[in-house]
Amino acid sequence: MSTDLPSKNGLAIEFRNVSYSFAEGSELISSLNLQVHRSETLVLLGRSGSGKTTTLKLINALASPTAGEVFVEGRPTSQWNTIRLRRGIGYVIQDAGLFPHFTVERNIGLVPTIENWPADRVRQRVIELLQVVGLDASLASRYPRELSGGQRQRVGVARALAADPPILLMDEPFGALDPITRAELQREFLALQRRLEKTVVFVTHDLREALLLGSRIALMEAGKLVAALPPDEFVRSTDPLVKQYLDAFGELPTTTGNRGCA
């Protein structure tokens, strides 16, 4: 497949001393070192403004590091053809970011279409993906505004998976959903991830979501990485910032989440 990324080692993504600051000098990310293993679900956890979304955007080059390098499949993003890099990385954002003037079918088929797949193959892939994300094929001709929030988010996931990218970036994808729909989508995400084994970087501020979905949790605070630990170690961590985050959430369910293959 055209979007397969070449691999050089077991790391899908690596941040090496990455800093990112605005032109006026305020630093959003400071000397970040972080590794994302192939097929793991790394959750970037942190409060608003901690730099999680920026970290995500540094991976698909929506932001460029002001210092250091982000390696994707062993190659710095600065040396990638930006368009090729992005087409090999699925991107899901809050509220799905669907194109309101495209039907569900055109939304899901977007990347295959701009990758010039033949029309019938795109259609076939769309039908396949609707099934993967648990949507009825009859929704294909609908417009995003005719869908519920949960359905839109499923379409968003289907769209990100369309060209079968090895890496998936998810920016608070379930943040705008009601608790029941959210729980449903989280469960399905876990099932899907066990099957597809994508490398996923998942941004959330919700500790429960992080513990449930992450094979590792990277806590960020003020642009710095505090800790990156598997869920069971994360809840036992003695790091003051981790503890502060844990305390803020009070009583937690026992972690039974994703153990991935990291």
């Binding site: 955007k57 698909n60 929506l62 930006t82 368009i83 090729r84 890099l85 992005r86 087409r87 990385i89 699925g90 991107y91 954002i93 809050q94 509220d95 799905a96 970011g97 669907l98 194109f99 309101p100 003037h101 039907t103 977007l110 990347v111 701009i114 001709s141 609908r142 417009y143 505004r145 005719e146 769209r159 990100a160 970036l169």
Partner: protein, 216 residues
């Protein structure tokens, strides 16, 4: 003699003037679309050009129309024909609503939609033609509508420099102190303006809302 009798007796002449009027408005609006929309797109891409472009279009708009027709008289080639002057002047006036609405329409597209498109690897061109322009279309057509309606009114003044159109009757009626003759120009001009407004309003609704109202 009432105005309807006047229309009937001069029907070929009035029709001719209407046709001429419509031609001036149509061509100038088309030229303004050809120039204004790309300029509007350009200033979304190079924000540094935003102020000079919108500023110039604004300044043109503040020049009284009669004066603008006069200013263009000495311009080579253009000045040689009254109709050319009229078309150029109308084009210049129509630029502001077109540039402004194109810019505003594109800037008004939900930034998360743009970001999603960019993040999925759409090129700038794909983003422009498949996302930004289609979503801005309603606002852009609203600009064309404003421009066309203003042009219908302004084009009557073109008669002052001999460009013809429905303004001829208005000017002639004023000098003859004859309301019937003024109305012979004013009524068709008003009808044209309404027609432009309604047809483009319809188009605006149709195209602008494909983004909102689905066709099932």
């Amino acid at each position: 003699m009432n105005v309807f009798q006047f229309f009937w007796q001069n029907r070929t002449e009035v029709l001719d003037a209407t046709r001429q009027h419509l031609w001036m408005v149509g061509i100038s609006t088309l030229l303004a679309v050809i120039v204004g929309i790309p300029l509007g797109i350009l200033i979304t891409r190079w924000p540094a050009l935003n102020k000079p472009v919108l500023g110039s279009a604004n300044i043109i708009q503040t020049v009284p129309s009669l004066a603008l027709f006069g200013f263009l008289l000495p311009v080579p080639w253009i000045g040689a024909g009254a109709e050319r002057i009229a078309i150029l002047a109308l084009t210049l006036y129509a630029l502001l609503p077109l540039i402004r609405n194109t810019y505003a329409g594109i800037k008004g597209v939900d930034s998360s939609v743009i970001e999603a498109g960019r993040g999925m690897g759409m090129t700038d061109r794909q983003l422009l033609f498949q996302v930004e322009l289609p979503l801005a279309l309603g606002v852009i057509i609203a600009g064309v509508r404003v421009a066309a309606v203003i042009s219908v009114g302004l084009a009557t003044i073109a008669a002052a420099i001999g460009a013809g159109g429905l303004g001829q009757y208005i000017f002639r009626g004023i000098s003859m102190v004859n309301n019937q003759v003024i109305l012979a120009g004013a009524i068709p001009a008003a009808a044209l303006a309404l027609l432009c407004d309604m047809s483009l309003g319809w188009l605006e609704k149709r195209l602008g809302t494909t983004t909102v109202v689905p066709q099932s």
